[in-house]
Symmetry: C2
Subunit: 179 residues, 2 copies
DNA sequence: TTAATTCTGGAACGATCATTCAAATAAGGA
DNA sequence: TCCTTATTTGAATGATCGTTCCAGAATTAA
């Protein structure tokens, strides 16, 4: 459904509150009534957009994680993909910053995607530890959280205007912490 | 001026777009007309609030940085203060996520505060390197950016619902990357 | 006390908000 | 072709938006 992708594009760089219904009607290229018939209202459309974005984004993370001979290569590939795509605002980060945990339906979406990503990263961290490329003294749960937190860090830095070169330095130093 | 602090409190957890003028009037405990006479309009009030918040927050970071016998202790104190105060939403992060670099007046405020913080962190990083508590192979500029990026990371994680215990693990691992 | 100044709150402004009803149009299947 | 089903569009809903005008209350200065 390409309409949802258009909604993702709008919410991504304007947020929820600053996006008007008429902006959405224009961007989705469907009639106003069709929008309400299909998605219910603005909030439900937003939830669907975030859900879809989170699923897509998590898929991309997982795909990158599978990369490379060593597990650490997959982790590095994931971070580098984040750097490479950082010029496009992250709807996940935006959504969390705008609403925090105040909206249960939204929080559930974030938690589901977060758990899926966390599990995959955790597995790779453990593999990297048995390969000897991540220090075994480090708690793998904490390492996984650290990596996902640094994905957010890279994206916030990008949103604040950092150059790609500086973003990849962030990724490198994050990896260094696990060596 | 306590009115501005009230504005900070409102913008901090609702963002700009979702905050109405009447909400501000109620929160600032001043008349509606006084609000417009004093601050001009909602946007200028927001700019003032962000400016003040950024200054206060940077002051707090700098104060923490001065802590401890070694330079690294100051850096650690700064991160730990962030962890300790992470339950209150950061207006800086919120502002960057909501507007990115689209509003020149706002971006200037962020840049000013960012530079002030960066310089102070940079100085401490260099000191820590000559003390031997941060590896000298690391580019100090990158280390400083990494540290400030991880402040944002901790705050986003907190906004997403992470427990304080997990946040301090983030801080620990960030420091580990510089060892 | 009086005069000047600041602050407040009601009323109203036009604009836009999200949303719905109803009629018009388009599309597809028989 | 006609009938049914989607889709779009115009018009209107009540609400709320940011902001201004204005008259009165409160505060301060003289």
């Amino acid at each position: 459904m390409t309409a949802l992708d258009a909604a993702i594009g709008v919410f991504r760089d304007k947020g929820y509150a600053a996006t008007s219904a008429s902006t959405l009607v224009d961007a989705l290229h469907i009639g106003r009534q069709s929008l309400y018939d299909t998605f219910g209202d603005k909030w439900r459309l937003y939830l669907e957009a975030v859900r879809r974005y989170a699923a897509q984004e998590t898929d991309a993370h997982l795909a990158a994680l599978k990369t490379g001979p060593r597990a650490l290569d997959g982790i590095e590939a994931m971070l580098m993909r984040v750097v490479a795509t950082a010029s496009e605002t992250c709807l996940g980060v935006g959504s969390i910053c705008e609403f925090g945990t105040t909206q249960p339906e939204l929080t559930k979406i974030h938690e589901a995607a977060g758990l899926r990503l966390h599990s995959a990263v955790l597995e790779r961290v453990r593999s990297a530890q048995s390969e000897g490329s991540i220090a075994s003294v480090i708690d793998p749960e904490q390492a996984a959280q650290f990596l996902t937190a640094n994905i957010a860090a890279i994206r916030v830095a990008a949103r604040a205007g950092s150059r790609a070169e500086d973003l990849s330095a962030l990724a490198r130093l994050a990896l260094r912490g696990l060596r």
